[in-house]
Amino acid sequence: METNNTNSFEPKVVAFVCNWCTYAGADLTGTSRIKYATNVKIIRFPCTGRIDFMLLMKAFANGADGIIISGCHPNDCHYTSGNFHARRRWMIFRNLLDFIGVDVNRIVFSWVSAAEGAKWAEVVNESVDQFRQLGPATSYQKLIKNSEFQEVE
């Protein structure tokens, strides 16, 4: 990975992925030895349908600068419809975050199949670039700092 960015900021990125498509796709990225940014770390879920929006809130509250959510393409869900349910959930959630002033560009949603090892690397690299551009999630970090302060009090 070339880092042509003079800005040395490296975003913390957590990826929530489903076991059957994107996790397997990311395995394929590995077996194909395609390189991508180290910033992204993966948490495995059985299905995108399992991913609770509260986990995204948790990730932000724990200092994530960006989040990737990825699962099977429509019609390819291992459980036939978990991704469709997830899609509806994200449609509502994303707009709600935008409504309260959270930059939704900090969350990247994608469909990456078990065959799309190269796409996974692309998604990661593009997302990390995007998060670098956005810079640290300062507005959220301010809240985190305040909360720590209060809790210590």
């Binding site: 929006f53 509260m54 809130m57 948790k58 509250a61 429509p74 019609n75 419809s81 469709f84 349910h85 899609r87 509806r88 959930r89 994200w90 449609m91 509502i92 959630f93 994303r94 707009n95 709600l96 975050l97 935008d98 409504f99 309260i100 002033g101 959270v102 930059d103 939704v104 990247v108 949603f109 994608s110 469909w111 998604v123 593009e126 507005s139 959220y140 809240l143 985190i144 305040n146 909360s147 209060q150 809790e151």
Partner: protein
């Protein structure tokens, strides 16, 4: 004695009904909920513009839940909430009678869910002009301004949960905010925890909020938190054509899907 009071008196005197949940005159021009059990108290009942509180929330309160001889005087918010509660299996057909009002002020007796659903279909579903203007004002702000606005509002929240208590749809015996393993939402009322609470509350009302605004009315700090649930309600309508409180059998907007649901953000 007006029609409503007469009606209430008759119902209680008949012995078929033992409790009427309705409105009475409160302080400073506001109405407040009242529970009438005796015919002679029927004259306390009022119904006018001041009766804007959504009192469907009382229907499943433990104290009266099992009383099958109850009547509820319902404004249009309350009616929609009853439909939504019926869809969510929280109130049961035949457990109560509803007194609603026609536009000319006539009392309408609604005995079954089907009748209520039919009546609700004639009502206006959507935001008032003033509410829509508030939504627009926020949506027109820049992202930074929106954040600043809500950060300021959330910083004031004291987590009294009046919003939750007033909402007919917040009926969970254990709210997620009270779960401590895992600790979904931090306990103190700092801005971050408050934000998490309000986002969660709004998300949990997706496809369920009837836009009565009761949460905002109940808030002692007058935070405009009803706009959050309005947002999910409007999006549910726009994306999925789902309007809460219109059908006693419809599935929740987020419990179903269509393969052709259209978003523009998934890569």
């Amino acid at each position: 004695m007006n029609n409503l009071q007469q009606k209430a008196q008759q119902l209680l005197e008949s012995g078929n009904y033992g409790l009427i949940v309705g409105y009475e005159k409160g302080t400073s021009g506001k109405a407040r909920p009242v529970f009438i059990r005796k015919a002679e108290h029927a004259s306390k009942l009022i119904f006018d513009e001041s009766c804007d509180q959504n009192i469907a929330v009382y229907l499943y309160r433990q104290e009266i839940k099992h009383n099958k001889k109850k009547v509820i005087v319902a404004n249009h918010h309350t009616l929609k909430s009853i439909v939504e509660l019926a869809a969510e299996n929280q109130v049961f057909d035949g457990d109560f009678m509803v007194l609603a009002f026609a536009e000319n002020g006539d009392i309408i007796e609604l005995n079954t869910f089907e009748e209520i659903e039919k009546h609700v279909a004639t009502l206006y579903h959507g935001l008032t002009e003033a509410e829509a203007a508030m939504m627009k004002k926020i949506e027109d702000m820049s992202l930074e301004d929106r954040w600043a606005f809500w950060e300021n509002e959330f910083s004031k929240c004291i987590k009294c949960y009046a919003c939750r208590a007033s909402c007919p749809m917040c009926y969970c015996p254990t709210c997620t905010v009270e779960i401590n393993q895992p600790q979904w939402i931090s306990v103190p009322s700092h801005t971050l925890g408050n934000l998490e609470w309000h986002v969660m509350r709004a998300m949990h009302l997706a496809g369920r909020c009837v836009t009565c605004g009761q949460c905002g009315k109940a808030c002692p700090l007058e935070l405009p938190i009803q706009l959050l649930t309005y947002k999910v309600a409007l999006d549910s309508k726009q994306f999925f054509d789902s309007v809460a409180g219109t059908s006693i059998c419809a599935d929740n907007a987020l419990a179903i899907f269509k393969p052709e649901d259209h978003e523009n953000f998934i890569r």
